[in-house]
């Protein structure tokens, strides 16, 4: 009844081509933003931030990044973990080398450095496609992790081989290090997520996004109608790695604080982010959020049910979680290859006709 175009007259081209053409969507968007910026920070606890909000927000950025590469440009990557590691280590080196510069700038710069590395590893995509490329990105994953483990310069010759984030302030409030208040780390991640989603959404709507999608749907045909495959593929790698790098930097600096590269940014991380975009929906920004939310809340939810309710041991629940995630991946690929985003789309279609579906 509320959710429809009727009565919402557009009087300019700008209004006509806006992201949310339906008025209800726009209000919802502003309400979500207002709640997450103005309400949640006042009620947030350490447990909520560490178990739910921060992983969700940070993975959402990574998922947006991977979704640009895999969902929009059709280049499957299994190197997300490695690129997140690049972001984390770049951020660490910048933080320790230039302690006076604002941490937020470091995070963005870390994204930029990751974009360069990602572009370099994206070069083979011009020659190889599909899962050949997926395997080729494994080279990035394993090589980068090995590099950060072996070259002591990257971890400032620390004895443990770990990197740990020193305390840094933004507007006089600590955002990294052990004294960070819960709301501060939440807000930092939220700001990055919001800006990333805005940039990603508008990039994918524009000329560049259309080039990516044309390349995804059929690269030879795209080339024939004048899309430069070199530019399309490499920009996809660059933009995607930029977001993945930012998420890696946040994951290290704001969320964990200390990182051992093989453990945190291993191949499992690559798969986890890939699963997020499959479950959430390939080629959809909303899907990145939905998938991240789903896979972050699932373990917490299972732990609540399994450990606290049934009294099962934690390792059993961990195994069960593997089974469930695996099953869900297969289920979604069989039943709804477009993921949660498609369910959302269908629900919106139904809503537009409700309550008179005929």
């Amino acid at each position: 009844m509320l959710y429809r175009e009727a009565g919402d007259y557009k009087t300019s081209y700008t209004a006509d081509s806006q992201t949310f053409p339906i008025a209800f969507d726009r209000y919802r968007y502003w309400v979500v933003l207002a709640v997450s910026f103005l309400v949640i920070p006042f009620f947030i606890t350490d447990y909520l931030v560490n178990a739910l909000f921060m992983p969700f927000l940070i993975y959402a950025i990574a998922a947006i990044g991977l979704n640009i590469l895999t969902g929009y440009a059709g280049q499957v990557s299994l190197g997300t973990g490695g690129f997140m590691a690049v972001g984390a280590y770049a951020c660490y080196k910048l933080m320790t080398a230039f302690p006076d510069v604002n941490i937020l700038i470091h995070v963005v710069l870390a994204g930029g450095i990751t974009a360069l590395v990602g572009t370099a590893f994206g070069l083979p995509s011009l020659r190889i496609k599909g899962f050949y490329l997926a395997v080729a990105t494994l080279a990035a994953q394993f090589f980068l992790v090995w590099l950060f483990n072996k070259v002591a310069w990257f971890y400032n010759y620390s004895a443990s081989g770990q990197i740990s984030a020193p305390e840094r302030m933004v507007f006089g409030v600590a955002v990294t290090g052990p004294n960070t208040p819960a709301w501060a780390s939440y807000l930092v991640c939220l700001v990055f997520v919001t800006i990333s989603a805005l940039i990603a959404r508008n990039l994918t709507r524009g000329a560049l996004g259309r080039q990516w999608m044309a390349t995804r749907d059929m690269d030879i045909a795209a080339e024939i109608i004048g899309v430069n495959p070199l530019k399309a593929k490499l920009t996809a790698f660059a933009v995607s790695s930029f977001f993945v790098g930012i998420s890696g930097a946040l994951f290290f600096a704001v969320y964990l604080g200390a990182v051992e590269v093989g453990e945190v940014f291993g191949i499992n991380k690559s798969f986890l982010v890939l699963f997020m975009i499959i479950i959430g929906g390939l080629g959809s920004i909303f899907g990145a959020f939905a998938g991240a939310a789903f896979l972050v809340t699932l373990p917490v939810f299972l732990k609540l049910i399994g450990v606290d309710l049934f009294g099962w041991p934690t390792d059993l629940v961990a195994h069960l979680q593997l089974v469930i995630v695996g099953f869900l991946i297969m289920f979604f690929l069989v039943k709804e290859p477009h993921g949660l985003a498609q369910l959302w789309r269908l629900a919106k279609e139904k809503l537009r006709l409700w309550p008179f579906p005929h």
Binding site: V76, P124, R127, I128, G130, F131, Y132, A134, V135, A136, L138, A139, Q141, F142, F143, V145, W146, N149, K150, V151, M218, I220, A221, I224, I267, F271, L274, F275, I278, F310, G311, W312, P313, D315, L316, H319, L320, Q321, L322, V323, I324, V325, G326, F327, L328, I329, M330, L333, V334, P337
Partner: protein, 331 residues
């Protein structure tokens, strides 16, 4: 001959043996890929699952004991009998065939005609599912596989070759298990080739690999062939699982060898059984030699990534691999 040179030869020999082990895993990939175009990421986990099942049956473990105990407060763990190896292997083959049927019936039948990359991701999901299932059924502790396969270095070869070098050369160290694996791999490949050349179902399998539509039109059941191929891949996985399990214990890291098999395949070509063998040997020798020659200079552990980078560089120049069919794209 100088000792360094001889040690180099030893590295190459051991690399060849390791390559055979990689090739064992890669074989299963090639079988499924040829017949159905599915790139089966779960092959490594299938090896793990098969080995776990074998150990579980041999030792008479109660499947799902962990979850049953946790739910009903019981103390089940073993049935209290031990199954002889031959019988246990037969049972495990049965389980893998059942698994092949289930995969075909509940997963890939619904995905016919999807893009290869979707199928690939489905097998990643399958890998996670199977990994969790194996842990749930048999527990996740490291198990030893007591099949009585020979272990350790071969004294005979060591003594026989000790005279080749000077005083600081003690002969080639070659693992007996690796030699067994080599023999098994040769038998397995010979068997597979004989099967696909001289039997009715083998010919049907090749026909399906050649052209699905044409095979269908002469009355070959695609469904049956796919179950057959997955069963064969399950069998190959069992063999690989036994060999790797005997080498390093039956544990989670077994499933990671699947990742190592990927560059092997890219090098050899996805559609060629000899390619899988040759690719395995090249990767095995390459990474051992690289570790031996360059490893000390850059801090070691290059085996983690060398195979992937080699495959990556190779692909840039020859995208279909050494023996693969030329990739032709139509618009």
């Amino acid at each position: 001959m100088s000792a360094d040179f001889l040690y180099g030869i030893e590295v190459v020999l051991n690399g060849l043996m390791a390559g055979v082990m990689y090739a064992l895993v890669a074989l299963g990939f090639v079988l499924i890929f040829k017949a159905s175009g599915i790139f089966n990421f779960a092959q490594g986990v299938m090896a793990l699952f098969a080995a776990l099942t074998l150990v579980g049956i041999m030792e008479g473990q109660v499947p799902f004991a962990h979850i049953i105990n946790a739910t009903f407060g019981t103390e089940l763990h073993h049935f209290g009998w031990e199954v002889p190896a031959i019988l246990a292997i037969t049972c495990t083959v049965g389980v893998m065939i059942l698994f092949a049927w289930a995969v075909q019936r509940f997963l890939f039948r619904h995905l016919v005609g999807q893009e290869p990359i979707i199928l690939f991701m489905a097998t990643i999901g399958l890998a996670y599912f199977l990994e969790g299932m194996g842990d749930l059924m048999w527990g996740s502790d490291i198990k030893t596989l007591a099949l009585g396969l020979p272990q350790g270095g071969s004294r005979w070869i060591e003594d026989a070759t000790a005279g080749l070098g000077g005083d600081d050369f003690y002969g080639f160290f070659i693992d007996k298990l690796d030699m067994v694996a080599t023999v098994v791999a040769i038998v397995l490949v010979a068997g597979l080739i004989a099967f696909s050349q001289y039997t009715k179902h083998g010919r049907a399998m090749r026909a399906v690999a050649d052209d699905h539509q044409a095979a269908l039109s002469v009355g070959i059941s695609l469904n049956f062939i796919w179950i057959l191929v997955w069963s064969l891949a399950g069998f190959v996985a069992l063999v690989a699982g036994i060999m790797w399990g005997a080498k390093s214990g039956v544990q989670f890291s077994l499933s990671l060898i699947a990742l190592k098999a990927l560059p092997v395949l890219m090098l050899g070509g996805f559609t060629s059984i000899p390619g899988a063998i040759v690719g395995g040997l090249i990767i095995g020798v390459g990474e051992k030699l690289f570790e031996y020659l360059v490893g000390p200079m850059v801090g070691g552990a290059t085996e983690n990534w060398f195979a992937y980078v080699l495959a990556l560089l190779f692909l840039v120049f020859r995208p279909q691999g050494l023996f693969g069919e030329k990739i032709i794209e139509r618009v």
